[in-house]
Symmetry: C2
Subunit: 226 residues, 2 copies
């Protein structure tokens, strides 16, 4: 396992691919995972075409998950639990799973500006019940626009609230610094994912009302600059 590698399961989707492009551009080895390995290979080729010299590979999700200390789960909410269950046995103590899922009501045929109630409180907390011992779940990246991630020529002006166990969340906050414009913000315990995930539904509504298909982001004001 390459200590610098970042695995992105669902890295063929808009947001996952955006993160793959940005992390590759920052010089980090990227492993793209997909349910169908051929789609992962295709996405890896796409990243390499955009970021010449990028170290990026495409693999089936379980194979991808074995290759990086941080495994970002970038699949639609309704597939988060099943994807994690599918790779459970491939994870080792010390790894971090990053939850990006948002329980939008679209999962049950309702609208994207409304949320489902999740028994555990949030997608991230649901996933935390499914990882093997010693693997930690961190919540991050939900509110980052896929469109803005994919447009490498511009900064992604957005704060990323990172929640989860302290040491793990510090490591994920550091990842944010790899993407120009992104800033990792210490979001405290994992339960705060309940709020951060819901902010995505609010942003989707704002995007529609203000007609900003590129996606509206958030910044916190008054944070110490250090």
């Amino acid at each position: 396992m390459d200590e610098n590698a970042i695995a992105i399961l669902g890295g063929t989707g808009d947001q996952g691919l955006g993160l793959a492009l940005r992390f590759a551009r920052a010089g980090r080895p990227v492993v793209i995972g997909s349910r169908k390995p051929e789609r992962a290979v295709e996405a890896a080729l796409q990243v390499r075409a955009t970021v010449p010299g990028a170290s990026v590979t495409g693999l089936e999700n379980g194979d991808a998950a074995e290759l990086a200390p941080i495994v970002i789960l970038s699949v639609p909410f309704e597939h988060c639990a099943s994807t994690l269950k599918g790779i459970q046995k491939r994870l080792r103590a010390g790894q971090i799973v990053v939850s990006m899922g948002v329980p939008l009501a679209t999962a049950v045929g309702d609208g994207a500006t409304r949320m489902l109630g999740i028994w555990q409180g949030s997608c991230a907390e649901l996933l935390a019940t499914l990882v093997p011992e010693g693997v930690e779940v961190v919540s991050a990246f939900q509110n980052v626009s896929a469109h803005r991630l994919q447009h490498l020529e511009t900064e992604v002006e957005c704060d990323v609230v990172v929640s989860g166990p302290m040491a793990a969340r510090k490591r994920v906050m550091a990842l944010c610094g790899l993407v120009p414009g992104l800033r990792g913000v210490d979001g405290g315990p994992l339960a705060n994912a309940r709020i951060v995930e819901a902010v995505t539904a609010l942003l989707i509504g704002l995007n529609a009302r203000y007609k900003v298909p590129e996606g509206i982001g958030i910044r916190f004001t008054g944070l110490p600059s250090a």
Copy 2:
């Protein structure tokens, strides 16, 4: 009733007093309400001492509510419903009640970074069940730091998500423009107050982790500037 007046019930509290100071500074007549009229009078004197020439009066909550088209409810969450019940009969069709309450778990002896579940979904939606016909509830101002409101010499760098029935929320969004730095953002239907209220709990945690007693705010990035 003065069409330009703004009533602030609980205007003796930190956040309510901050709004009173800012609206008075902007030249709007302010009516401060309190359960105890003598405390309201005291707060009004305080506003006049800080903003010379301000048009500000202090009255018992029910009397205050009759004097302005927009009535801001700035009392702790646990007193929101009872305060509104106490003034119900004084409200008239066409008035707007602004809900600022946040169901923090402090109301039941738990911490301020956690939320209570409200049957109706949010404080604002709870209050919407208590107003007379023709009176509309709008959710706003939850995330604005009391400290920053009270320091008139500096801008309050914060977006205010305003949710509720369309015409009413446009009127409350316009109020935000009276305070330098505040920007009213169209937060859509009242149910979005569920998200906006919860953001307050997130901000309280950030204030603690980042040691910013003055209060951290939020801005949305990518909004059209017009």
